[in-house]
């Protein structure tokens, strides 16, 4: 097992900062050996995960902190997004039916389509949530 810590980014839950996340994920994916098509897809998934934290966990409170960690475990690329908002209702997190054309409900679908494994949960100390997304790099 060859675990490699690619990076850890702390940033405020401000939509302005999403461009930082995208730039970083794109480069990190490149370092991990992803081609640019895959890197673009990973950017989409992680961007949506952070958007969801901003919109649904922090509900627009820009002072909340988000932590994005990227690890490379023998070609399993792990993206962990952590927040310190109130614990969310994990049952509510699901995509809309795509046949029902309406605004919204796409983010979680994008994430599921792009990633190979997703795990969401509450942090241990009663405050905060995490989403771990794994992509197997061939």
């Amino acid at each position: 097992m060859n675990e490699e810590h690619l990076l850890k980014l702390h940033f405020p839950a401000n939509p302005d900062r999403l461009c930082l996340v995208r730039a970083l994920v794109k480069r990190a994916a490149g370092i991990a050996g992803c081609n640019s098509d895959l890197a673009e897809k990973l950017v989409i998934a992680v961007n949506e995960a952070c958007m969801n934290v901003i919109q649904h966990a922090y509900k627009g409170d820009y002072s909340g902190e988000i932590v994005l960690e990227i690890l490379n475990n023998d070609n399993r690329l792990l993206f962990r997004v952590e927040d310190y908002a109130a614990p969310i209702d994990l049952e509510c997190v699901k995509p809309r039916d795509l046949d029902d054309i309406r605004p919204g409900g796409l983010g979680t679908y994008f994430i599921q389509e792009i990633m190979d494994e997703c795990t969401m949960g509450h942090l241990e100390d009663g405050v905060g949530n995490y989403l771990e997304m794994i992509k197997i790099i061939k």
């Binding site: 939509p15 999403l18 989409i44 961007n47 054309i101 605004p103 919204g104 994008f110």
Partner: protein
């Protein structure tokens, strides 16, 4: 993101330029809905979109549905590769009327 607006072939054209993400999709949404509410048929030009997230796509879906309700024409033109790959992921590439440019759209309008 920047927004340019123009008129062409009886359509209002809203051109979105750059990254359409949560930091600016509300502005895009506002412009799209304002245009439709002014009773104008609308094409959204995505040729210079380098990134669009689900909130940007949601604004387009809202435009599409509002246009339908108001009996106005709506569509996308010049969709960039990066925008198209997101529309495909959302399976909306077969839902929106999409054309290369205004001329192509007008040809189809007949």
């Amino acid at each position: 993101m920047k927004i340019n607006t123009r008129e062409e072939g009886g359509y209002a054209i809203i051109e979105l330029i750059g990254e359409v993400d949560l930091s600016c999709s509300p502005a895009a949404r506002k412009q799209i809905l304002a245009c439709l509410k002014a009773n104008r048929s609308l094409l959204v030009d995505l040729k210079a979109v380098t990134y669009i997230d689900s909130s940007g796509v949601a604004s387009l879906v809202e435009g599409y549905q509002t246009a339908k309700k108001l009996n106005l024409k709506f569509g996308l033109i010049g969709v960039s590769d990066s925008a198209m790959s997101v529309l495909r992921l959302a399976r909306l590439d077969k839902v929106f009327p999409i054309h290369a440019n205004v001329k192509e759209r007008l040809r189809e309008d007949g």
